[in-house]
């Protein structure tokens, strides 16, 4: 009989222990479930992002140093050929930024914000701008903003360009 009571006490204590253990695991499972919902949402976003990327034509990014170097060489070369003084400098050079800096833009993609400035003669400025834009269109860059300003017989062109590399 005493053994029965001892077993009963053991059972009750074991039940309590199991209950507490189950409670902890329940809470942990709830936390994991909420976290998994967030992860699933992240995964869905990535899936959608991947789907939209798949529709784009392949055009591999260059290494970031190569991308910047190519921009410099082609823009300045084009400027020389077209008779335009072309200068490339950091976007915020007026605020003291001296170096070209790449920052993480998207997964595996680095971005450097630069400003391309060119001085053209008024006559034929549109044609030169066209050739300049065509030159840039062959590079992994995105022209965010273009400003053309007539100053007497000269035309000042300023472009905000994002250069992408990996």
């Amino acid at each position: 009989m005493r053994a029965l009571y001892i077993f009963t006490v053991v059972f009750v204590l074991a039940s309590l222990g199991l209950g507490l253990w189950a409670k902890d695991e329940w809470e942990e499972a709830d936390r994991l479930e909420a976290r998994n919902r967030g992860l699933q949402a992240d995964y869905d976003t990535l899936q959608a992002e991947s789907g939209s990327l798949d529709r784009a034509e392949p055009f591999p990014l260059r290494f970031k140093e190569d991308a910047l170097s190519e921009l410099f060489s082609r823009a300045i070369e084009a400027g020389e050929v077209l008779g335009a003084g072309v200068r490339v400098e950091p976007r915020n050079a007026s605020m003291g930024v001296q170096e070209m800096q790449f920052v993480e833009f998207k997964a595996g993609v680095q971005r450097c914000e630069v400003t391309l400035q060119a001085g053209l003669e008024r006559e034929g400025a549109a044609a030169i701008l066209t050739m300049l834009e065509e030159e840039l269109a062959e590079l992994p860059v995105s022209v965010r903003k273009t400003r053309v300003r007539l100053v007497g017989q000269a035309v000042s062109v300023s472009m905000d360009v994002d250069v992408f590399g990996r």
Binding site: T8, S15, G19, K106, L129, S142, K145, R166
Partner: protein
């Protein structure tokens, strides 16, 4: 098994065989050693309010322990019918045979009545229900009964109300009707049904207006034929009490063990379910993490493979607009600046040439009407001293509209 009804030490009714009367001292002559016997005694009746746990304590306050033994049966919640007997008498009776059962005689009387009328044995709640139902059909029949056993000049009067025994008296000599009425008064009974195995007594009661009947039962005393039916209420010896307590304790222990085992089973089941859920979530978490990692690597590779195309697609160009303006503008105005931004759209600033021919905003509109880029431009005219400027703004085209989607309502 030989049966006896012990009314007093001097009057014991032999309830087997031919019947007869004997005394306590003469009882050994009726019983052989090692013979089983069943005795019914006239106990003291007590109605006690207590619980199973407190009954012993309550009884000990009224009857000194050791000298008295009692047997209890539940009447209602926390109300017991208690049959108290002298321990001395019980011991003496037990010494007469090998196995001796001693039961309270009123319980046998009640059982005998229940065999005559099964409703009498029903519970209090059932009796109430029957009473209420009958109230609408016929005159309610009282559940109060008085049973008078006549043994020569001795009478045993037992008063019952339903299941409860109100009183049991042994009257020696005297006027039986008068004694019965005393019993009724002391038990606060109002015109109960009277039963007796003595026909003369029944006739006498009926002549006095009592509702009396002769029950169809064997034997001289009403309860003698059913003494062996109430052995569940027998007085227990110390050993039997100890055994019964041991049985109760064992039952409690087994019940507690079963409850504990049940709790453990339920807790174990709950834990198994919860643990299963946790394992499932952990597995899902690991799978998602791995999938996300793979997808991130894939997206990263995809960006490196294709983002240049997207970047080129997002570029804004302006050479066509510049060409267009250089050919479309009338000679009265000159282009000062033009700016294109993906967010703000296309903004061109024109300035009127000094000394130019008369010119108005509408002239500018008509000049740009055929322009593919500026025909829909918003034109704002600004005056700064002697200068007149025109700001042309073309809002950026939404991506959907550019692809030919239907305009939003």
């Amino acid at each position: 098994m030989k049966k006896f009804i012990v009314i007093s030490p001097d009057l014991i009714w032999v309830a087997h065989g031919e019947g007869g009367v004997t005394t306590l001292d003469d009882l050994p002559n009726h019983l052989q050693t090692k013979e089983d016997a069943l005795f019914a005694i006239l106990p003291q009746i007590q109605r006690v309010v207590a619980t199973d746990r407190t009954l012993d304590t309550v009884m000990a306050q009224t009857f000194s322990p050791g000298e008295n033994s009692f047997r209890a049966e539940p009447l209602e919640d926390n109300v017991f019918q208690v049959y108290v007997a002298r321990t001395e008498l019980l011991d003496r009776l037990r010494s007469l045979g090998r196995e001796v059962f001693i039961v309270p005689y009123p319980a046998a009387v009640r059982h005998a009545l229940s065999t005559l009328n099964p409703e009498a044995e029903s519970s209090l709640r059932e009796r109430t229900r029957v009473f209420l139902q009958q109230a609408f059909t016929e005159t309610p029949k009282s559940d109060e009964k008085v049973i008078v056993d006549v043994l020569g000049q001795d009478y045993v009067i037992t008063a019952l109300r339903g299941k409860e025994v109100l009183a049991v008296r042994h009257v020696r000599g005297g006027e039986p009707v008068m004694e019965m009425q005393r019993t009724l008064a002391s038990a606060r009974m109002d015109n109960p049904g009277v039963m007796s195995r003595d026909q003369d007594f029944i006739l006498e009661l009926q002549s006095q207006g009592f509702e009396a009947e002769l029950p169809d039962l064997p034997g001289l005393m009403v309860g003698e034929s059913v003494l062996d039916k109430v052995t569940s209420l027998r007085y227990l010896t110390d050993i039997e009490i100890a055994r019964e307590r041991a049985r109760q304790n064992k039952r409690k222990a087994v019940t507690a063990f079963s409850v504990g085992l049940g709790m453990l089973a339920v807790a174990g089941g709950a834990y198994a379910v919860v643990h299963g859920k946790l394992v499932e979530q952990k597995t899902r978490n690991a799978t998602l993490m791995r999938d996300i990692e793979d997808k991130q690597a894939a997206v990263s590779a995809n960006y490196q493979e294709r983002y240049a195309t997207i970047a080129r697609g997002e570029s804004v160009s302006m050479h066509e607009e510049l060409f267009d303006l250089s050919t479309a503008l009338p000679p009265q105005v000159v282009l000062q600046s033009i700016e294109r931004d993906a967010a703000a759209g296309l903004i061109a600033t024109l300035e009127r040439r000094p000394g130019a021919a008369p010119f108005s905003k509408s002239d500018l509109k008509s000049a740009l009407a055929s322009s593919p880029f500026f025909a829909s431009a918003e034109i704002v005219e600004k005056y700064e001293g002697h200068l007149v400027r025109y700001v042309l703004t073309v809002k950026p085209t939404p991506p959907g509209a550019a692809e030919g989607a239907a305009p939003a309502p």
